[in-house]
């Protein structure tokens, strides 16, 4: 059953089973109105300010139109056919791996995902006493010792309402854009991270996150605050494909870096991309933005995007503090009928601010890959510097790569460089590999790895290896 079918089926259920039964099952029937938002908020025992925020966002959303400037083609989304409170609990628990789609298991094996994680990711019920759970507890103690707060967003709302009220929506306001506004109204859950002054987070938050990754919802909300002089590295997502029955994803991520703080945010996104005929697949409309608030702060985005039927995503940096640094490293792969419109925005406000953009697009099959990036140097940004490099590689002759760089320079002292290239994997390269005994598929994946090397190097070590394998799996069948 495709995702669309599932959504339609869910929509039909409204008439079949009625309103009350669904509430008992913890599913709100499809459709969006103020009652639904109040219900979500009350289910989460949210404080008044958050409910008001949600309602303001919803009312604003009603006045907005879905953006159409991206180079994406998809059938219109029926926002009233979606159930807005269904995410984690709705997933049916399976009894054993035998009930899981064998194709999915095959992929897990190729990626080398351990068995207990396979179970978690595919929604199989797992014993209470298994490794990862205790591992997770150990992590929690370790983090607590350093005063690091890392918890589900809904928990943070109850335990640290002051922090949430201070920072929530401070980088992505509820009026920001159609999808962020929708998220602000209906967000389900997500993560909250707070690193106190001078603390270097003792572990990659990736390790912990990976264990919890299977519980992420459809309208995720993440907020990371790094106090003065603190460091944190956070990895979102998972290299394994996720069993997910929601079609529309609209997440919001906000990062705040104070003076001398460093945030490294890495994403590996591998949602269901649809089948080889372009049927099904996740629509991923994400708003990610960080602000380098204090001087000498740094925010670094690294993303490996290989999943989703539609990707609409521009992780951005507002470089407000003097000498602050923004980085964006991206690998986006589209195969079959996948479409990606992705890039970044670097907004230079402070003096001597510096940004780097490295974007590698890979298109195969009928895939379409767009880089869209804005570099804005404001009047106040004395001696700002930007370097952008956008390279694309095409596999086959039915795919496409497009680059839309926007430059907006309002200070004459700025130095802005942009380089772009598009190339085919050449027949010469392929034949060279084959003549040494390497098969076409292995050759393509080797050439693509080489192409992405500068971005993979930025990923946390343990994920760089998996990201490479993931690329391999995603490229399978791309050679006619």
């Amino acid at each position: 059953m495709s995702d669309i079918d599932i959504i339609h089926k869910a929509a039909d259920q409204k008439y079949k089973y009625g309103f009350t039964t669904d509430i008992e099952q913890d599913i709100i029937p499809p459709g969006l109105n103020e009652d639904v938002i109040r219900l979500i908020s009350s289910k989460k025992n949210e404080p008044e300010f958050l409910l008001n925020w949600r309602l303001k966002a919803y009312r604003h959303w009603l006045t907005m139109a879905e953006p159409d400037w991206a180079k994406l083609k998809y059938s219109p989304i029926d926002y009233n056919a979606i159930s807005y409170y269904a995410a984690p609990k709705e997933k049916k628990e399976l009894k054993s791996l035998d009930e899981v789609d064998p194709k999915l298991l095959e992929t897990y094996d190729k990626l080398g995902i351990p068995l207990h994680e396979q179970k978690m990711l595919s929604g199989v019920a797992v014993d209470a006493v298994f490794d990862s759970v205790s591992v997770a507890t150990t992590f929690k103690d370790e983090l607590k010792k350093h005063g690091v707060i890392f918890m589900p967003f809904s928990e943070a709302v109850r335990e640290h309402p002051d922090l949430i009220e201070k920072y929530f929506g401070s980088v992505v306001p509820y009026t920001d854009n159609y999808f962020a506004t929708l998220n602000s109204a209906v967000f389900s859950d997500g993560s909250f991270v707070y690193i106190p002054k001078g603390v270097r987070c003792p572990l990659e938050l990736s390790t912990y996150f990976r264990i919890n990754a299977s519980q992420t919802g459809q309208f995720e909300r993440t907020l990371i605050v790094a106090e003065e002089g603190s460091h944190v590295s956070y990895l979102e997502g998972c290299t394994a494909p996720m069993r997910d029955e929601n079609q529309l994803h609209a997440a919001v991520v906000e990062l705040v870096a104070h003076k001398d703080a460093k945030i490294k945010y890495s994403t590996v996104q591998n949602w269901y991309p649809g089948d080889e005929n372009g049927k099904g697949g996740i629509y991923n409309f994400v708003t990610k933005r960080g602000i380098c608030k204090g001087e000498n702060s740094k925010i670094s985005w690294t993303q490996v995007e290989t999943g989703s039927a539609i990707t609409w995503k521009y992780p951005s940096c507002i470089l407000k503090g003097d000498n602050s640094v923004g980085e964006f490293y991206s690998v986006a792969l589209t195969n079959n009928y996948q479409q990606a419109d992705t890039g970044t925005k670097m907004i230079h406000i402070g003096k001597n601010t510096k940004s780097t953009i490295i974007s590698n697009g890979i298109s195969a099959g009928h895939g379409q890959n767009v880089y869209r990036g804005l570099v804005q140097i404001n009047k106040s940004a004395e001696n700002a510097r930007n370097y952008s490099q956008c390279d694309s590689i095409l596999i086959g002759d039915k795919c496409g790569a497009h680059t839309f760089p926007y430059l907006d320079v309002r200070n004459p002292s700025a130095q802005v460089e942009h380089e772009a290239s598009t190339s085919n994997i050449s027949e010469d390269q392929l034949f060279y590999c084959q003549q040494r005994g390497i098969s076409t598929e292995d050759a393509i994946s080797m050439i693509v790895h080489g192409f992405c090397k500068n971005v993979f190097q930025k990923l946390p070590m343990e994920f760089a290896v998996e990201a490479q394998k993931l690329l391999e799996v995603s490229l399978e069948g791309s050679v006619g």
């Binding site: 034949f431 060279y432 084959q434 005994g437 098969s439 080797m446 790895h449 080489g450």
Partner: protein
């Protein structure tokens, strides 16, 4: 080992090879000489299985089996190696990683166990000394930023590592200074043995001064017009190809 019979090859309806006959036995070194455009490179490309050529007539057999049915990678695994005239750059792909992938692909094909990284490193470190390349070349991207001579030595490194049965060297000598030429020739000479065949394709007889060819063939306009021993190369060096043109026209 390889038997080419009455081979006719076209590229987009234009006939390039017009009936080639050539047989190489284990241990032999054959050289094909000829001007640019005579079809020398087409022959090496067809043997190694490159796309874009139509075989209109004739056959190539490899130890009795039909070579033309095999994919390029299978031919490589069967022991056919081609040293490229213009070695290709593969950005971002570590030279040693590339060679190890090739080496292990060939071992897998033969049903042999793959070599792990440690074993491969010690193997490649002895090999790279033979072609007088610095070990740092192993960590660089394949042919990326290599000089002409370094690229060719890297080809020889690949050859002596993969240990093919038949090595085709397509204009490996072109663009080399005399020192690089000697290193390449030495690499080939050390690599010769009674089981291994060579097909050296060249424009100039210069490289043949450093090798000991068993047979020299002259190719003009898609045909082998003259075959002979060492002396033929010397005669070509002195008199050029002109005196053979008549033979080709017949």
């Amino acid at each position: 080992m390889i038997e080419i019979k009455d081979l006719h090859v076209s590229i987009e309806d234009k006939e390039i090879l017009k009936g080639i006959n050539l047989s190489i036995k284990p241990g032999e070194l054959h050289a094909i000489m000829g001007r640019n455009g005579s079809g020398k490179s087409t022959l090496s490309n067809v043997i190694s299985g490159r796309d874009g050529y139509t075989i209109t007539k004739g056959s190539i057999t490899w130890y009795g089996q039909d070579l033309l049915k095999l994919s390029p990678e299978d031919r490589a695994c069967e022991g056919i190696f081609m040293g490229f005239q213009y070695p290709v750059v593969i950005p971002g792909v570590n030279n040693m990683y590339f060679l190890k992938a090739a080496y292990n692909a060939q071992r897998r094909y033969k049903g042999e166990e793959e070599l792990d990284s440690m074993d491969f490193i010690s193997l490649i470190k002895t090999k790279i000394k033979e072609v007088k390349l610095d070990e740092s070349f192993l960590q660089r991207a394949v042919n990326d930023g290599f000089s002409g001579g370094e690229k060719k030595r890297n080809e020889i490194l690949q050859m002596i590592t993969l240990e093919p049965k038949l090595a085709i060297l397509d204009e490996t000598d072109s663009g080399l200074d005399i020192d690089a030429l000697k290193i390449v020739a030495e690499g080939v000479n050390n690599f010769r043995n009674p089981q291994r065949g060579f097909l050296v394709i060249t424009h100039y007889q210069r490289i043949l001064n450093y090798m000991d060819p068993d047979r020299i063939h002259v190719m003009i306009d898609g045909k082998i017009v003259k075959s002979g021993g060492r002396n033929l190369a010397l005669k070509l060096e002195q008199q050029g190809y002109g005196w053979l043109d008549e033979a080709a026209a017949v």
